[in-house]
Subunit: 400 residues, 2 copies
Amino acid sequence: MIKVAVFGYGTVGSGVVQVIDDNNKLISDRIGDGIEVKYILDIKDFPGDKNEKKLVKDIDIILNDPEINIVCETMGGTRFAYPYTKSALEKGISVCTSNKELVAAYGPELLETAKKNNCSYLFEASVGGGIPIIRPMNTSLAPENIEKITGILNGTTNYMLTKMSKEGSSYEDVLKEAQALGYAELNPEADVEGFDACRKIAILASLMTGKTVNFEEIYTEGITKITSKDFEYAKKMGKAIKLLAIAENKDGELTAMVAPCMIGDEHPLYNVNGVFNGIFVTGNMVDDLMFYGSGAGKLPTASAVVSDAIECARNLGRTLDCVWKDEKMTLSDRKDKEREFFVRVDAAQKDNALSLFEGSDGVSLDDNEFAFITPKMSERAFDDKIVRLDKVKSVIRVEA
Amino acid sequence: MIKVAVFGYGTVGSGVVQVIDDNNKLISDRIGDGIEVKYILDIKDFPGDKNEKKLVKDIDIILNDPEINIVCETMGGTRFAYPYTKSALEKGISVCTSNKELVAAYGPELLETAKKNNCSYLFEASVGGGIPIIRPMNTSLAPENIEKITGILNGTTNYMLTKMSKEGSSYEDVLKEAQALGYAELNPEADVEGFDACRKIAILASLMTGKTVNFEEIYTEGITKITSKDFEYAKKMGKAIKLLAIAENKDGELTAMVAPCMIGDEHPLYNVNGVFNGIFVTGNMVDDLMFYGSGAGKLPTASAVVSDAIECARNLGRTLDCVWKDEKMTLSDRKDKEREFFVRVDAAQKDNALSLFEGSDGVSLDDNEFAFITPKMSERAFDDKIVRLDKVKSVIRVEA
C-alpha cells in the first residue's frame, strides 16, 4: 500500500484527496498496488470534514513516519513550502507539487536534493494545470531540440480577453466579473500583470535549455492596457488578442517574454478560449505540437499532481530526473527579435505614421483614429520610431 | 554507450537514424549516457549509403550481440515484425515501434513477453505520429477514468477533406493530388476506408479500458462517399467534416467507431487541418484535453520512436508497463448511441423528410435538394426511419 501525505488542504490539496479517493480502484490497478492519503498537513482546523482524522499540524509526524514515501505539496508560496519540501526530499520522500513559485525559484536545487536522496521532485501541475506538458517535455520530447514554446499559460487573463473579444466589454468590467466568479483574485496583479505566466514560461524555458532561466529577467507586460477598441480592430483583421508567454531558442540564444499579442486565425492558439490554456511547441524533428486543456481548476490541477504521485509510486527508491542545471541561462536581448507591430494613433497622425513606418498596412474603423500593422522589424527599430510618433493610443505585438 | 538496432531502413527507420545522429549530443545529455545506432536490419542493399556498414540482413547478428539493449522496429506489417519483435523481447531487448498493425494485433502478448523478460515494449509512434499520446495516457492520465477519446488519427484523409473543404474539389481530384504528392498510397484503401484510423482507435480504446479491443469489431466507415456538395452545406452551417475515430466509455460500456462526422466551429478538432492529427480526450477529473501535431511524416514519427528508445535507455533492466490485458473488451451496440444526423434528399422529399424526422432543422442551397439535421436520436431509431425516405443523397453523423 502506497501512503501519501498532502501538504496544504486548500483547493488543489482537497482535489488531490478527492482524485485519489474517487478513482482509487483504477489508480491502484495502474500502479499495481493500493494507494491512500494517510496525512493532510494544514495549520487550519476543518471541523466535521470527512478527512478530519488525517489532518496534522506537525510536519515531523509525517517526515518521521517510514510509511510515507510520497508527498503532494499544494501549499503555494515559498516561505513554508521550501523548507518543508527540502526536508521531505532529504528524508528520501518524493515530492509532487503544483507550486510554480517554488519551482521557478528553487527548481534545480530541489531536483539536486531529490537526486542525492534517491527520490524525485516532480512538478507537472506547476504549468498548464491539468495539461500534460512537463512530463512530455522530459520524456516524449527528449529527442528534440525545442526551438520555440508559445503558451497561453494563464486561465484568468484568457477568460478575460475572451470575454472582451466576444462581448465587447471593457477591461474593468470583465475584471469585476472574473472576480465575482472567483476566476480572478481580489488582488489580480499576479494574473493581469503577467507575473504568473512569467514564472511558468521560466520553468518551460529552463527545461527547454537545461539551464536556469531566471523569471525576474523575463520581459513581462500584462493585459491592463488592452481596450475594447483593440478588439474591434483585431476582429476586423481576423486576429485574436492573447496573453502569450514565448520562449525561443535559436542557435543557443534564448529570448523570452510575456506580452499580449495578436495572432491570426490559422494559429493553433487562436481558438484557445475562456479558462483553457494552450501550449504550442516546435521541435527540430517533430515540428509543431500543441497541448490544450484546463489550465487551472481544482480537479484538473489535482489530477496532474496525482499523475506525478503515480509515477513516484512506480519508481520508489529511484530518481525520475530531468536536465535542469543550476547554471544560469543568459537571456539574449529581446530587442533584436523581429516581428510586426499593431499601432493605433490619432487620425491626424496618419501621414506621419505611414512615413515613419513605411510599408505598413493601414486599417480604420472611424474618423477619429488610424491603425496599422508595421512591416517586420526589430523591437529596437520599432522603439526608435514609435517615440517619434505623437498621440499613440495602443501598441500590440503581432505573433506570426 | 547505449547501442541501438533499427529494424527496417524505410522512411521511419532512416528517420530514427537521422534523429539519433543529428540530435546526438542533447539526447546523450538527457539519457546521461551516449547513444548510437549499431545495426540496421534490412533485406535490401543500400550501396553508397552513409550507414552502409551498419546494415545487416541476418537478425541473429543483432539478437546475439550482448551490446544491443534496444531495438527500434519500423518495418510495418506483422509477418516479419511479429517474430522479430518477439525474439528480441525474449532476449531481454526492449522494442520501440511505430507499427500500429502489430500493436493492434499482438499488443497484450508482446507487453506480457516484455514483462517476463524485464524489458519494455513501447509504441508511442503507432498512434498520432509525432504527437505524444500513448505515454501521456499511461502516465499523465493514469489518475483518470477516461470517458471519451475523439481523434483525427489519419493525416492522409484529413489532408483530403481539408482540400475538399477549402477548394471545393471533388473526392476523386483530391485523391489523385494526394497520391501525386505521396500523401496517399496508390492503393489508398487503408486510409480512405478508415482501416488505419480503426487500428489506432483500437489501441487507444484498449489503453482506455485496460482490456483488448479487437479492431475488427469496430464499425468503420471511410470518406469515399463525401462530396463537395456536403462541404457546401457544412460551410453554410458553420461546420467541418472530419474523419473521426471515437471511443466512449460510459459506466463500463464501450462504444467505438470510425466515420466521417460534422463538427461545429467550437469543437477543438474543428481547426485541425491538412496532414495534422488531433486527439481530444475527456477524463473524469482533468476534463477536456487535446493533443495536436504531425500525425505522420518521417521525422515526427521517428522522433516518437526515439523518445521511446530514450525511455528504455533510462530504464534498462526493468519494464515500463501499461495496463492492457489480454482479456477481451466487448463492444456495446453502437446503435444505442444517440446523436444528430445530417441528411440530404431530393427536394421533392422535403415534406416526407420533415414529417418522418419531426423537429429537424432544414437548410437548402438550391431548388434540387433539401438538407436537414435531425434531432438527437439513437442510430437504431435513425436507421429505422431513413429506410422509409426515398432519394437520400447523403447521410453524415453530427458529433457534438
